[in-house]
Symmetry: C2
């Protein structure tokens, strides 16, 4: 692991790091905020998965999470959204290929070699975080935005017991039922829609997966709400499944970081409450 | 005035606007955050002047001021740092020309036609803000970063009574005594250093100008501290002048927005205290 940059911020250190990933076969960049803490202490970890076109940098610069993480003593980890580099296949669209890994392990050529964001985020990066940062892996929470909200929901549903808290900002709730999801899953894992159910939060709940709790914020002025995000499908799935959930429609907010940063401190506090019990 | 974008954020509206400036002879872009407020109310205004290479966008995205401005009910205005456009002369360096207007009215060719950032920020933009936003111009505060800290200090010193509160993040405190200042003032207003005194906070205090109060934060790990910023000259000038000032050296902080965003909420609260009396 190499340090790209470390900046003192809100009493802690905001770092950006790279490492050679065995899963993706590329160098991967991620950011970690470590708040001030006593020597030897291990702090709860909040994962943030980013949306389409983003890298670690968007939330690191615009997410306004550091003040809240410093207050609550939480390590904040932001991975990239796909493998990158000259040898990595890409697509002309901004919603597939680089910047759009969809948190899946691709099985289709030419994507399957490098596009292993599920295993990277679920397995490889957590091992690195546990070994190199003052992180208490018994106390993890996960959140994300849009495609990263989909990532947070599905990773938490797939790994019961690992995350004490799950939240999302404007998540894609059902890739089975939106154009972004159909394009990504067809491309990465093929046309068989039964295989998609393992990457669809609503389908996973239908198939029996549950979360300890769930918080979702969704802006009513989000231009992607109707065609791509479809929050109502998550509401229906939670209701059917008896899944405890707080799903809030936020009047007038759009899909941008102006929305995310508004509700970020509340999400961090909500996670902190569950991570520090 | 045209609206470039308006996004709901922290209960208010973060806007970006352009207008044709008579002073600079160019279109000028700026951002304004207006917090939630009662119809007809006029709110205190906090000006933020940005540093070298920046536009309105840097602080708008990374400044973390909105939560505090929403809490305290303060309008936040961020102008650009220079005229821009194809017809505007520029320099090869990043510390002169576009992105580096230094908040002066240039008198030297070819700069004097467009580089009128002093009059733009002191006169033209305030008139626009007063006419188009719910701003109480009897309650103004001003702050800024680096070159913008220099701008905030000199504009406040030059206009006694206009600003109830003045603060700065890592300001250039004496252009007479640093390479950035020498390059900019030689270029924009010529070699006569007596004319520079009107653009040098320390010299202005020496010549009798005073502020109601002053708050400055400066990181000790700021790579520009020794050669360019020279905070100790401001400390000396304040002491000689009997100027009330809180000048804080912040251990381990650098020159970046990770530093600014850390102390921004505290600055907003400090201004609010003075603007809401």
């Amino acid at each position: 692991m190499e340090t790209v940059s470390e900046n003192r911020s809100h009493g802690g250190v905001q770092g950006v790091y790279t490492h050679a990933s065995a899963e993706t076969g590329t160098d991967m960049t991620f950011s970690v905020f470590v708040p001030a803490h006593e020597a030897g202490a291990r702090l709860p970890v909040l994962w943030y998965l980013s949306g389409l076109t983003c890298t670690h940098a968007n939330v690191t610069e615009k997410g306004e999470y550091r003040a809240a993480c410093a207050e609550h003593g939480i390590v904040f980890v932001a991975p990239d959204t796909s493998p990158r580099g000259d040898g990595v296949p890409d697509d002309e669209g901004w919603d597939f290929g680089k910047g759009a890994g969809f948190y899946v392990d691709a099985t289709e050529a030419p994507w399957s070699t490098h596009y292993r964001m599920r295993s990277y985020v679920e397995e490889e990066l957590p091992r690195l975080i546990a070994s190199r940062f003052p992180a208490d892996m018994e106390r993890q929470g996960i959140t994300g935005h849009s495609m990263g909200g989909h990532g947070a929901l599905t990773i938490a549903l797939r790994n019961p017991g690992r995350f004490r808290s799950t939240s999302a900002f404007a998540p894609i709730v059902s890739p089975l039922n939106c154009p972004w999801g159909k394009k990504a899953l067809t491309g990465y894992i093929g046309a068989d829609r039964t295989a998609w159910r393992d990457y669809d939060a609503c389908a996973m709940m239908e198939d029996g997966a549950r979360l300890p709790d769930l918080l979702v914020d969704q802006g009513t002025a989000d231009g992607f709400l109707e065609e791509q995000l479809k929050t109502h499908l998550l509401e229906q799935a939670c209701e059917k499944a008896g899944q405890t959930a707080t799903i809030r429609m936020q009047e007038g907010y759009d899909h941008s970081y102006y929305f995310i940063s508004t509700f970020m401190p509340g999400h961090v506090a909500w996670h902190a409450e569950r991570l520090k019990r």
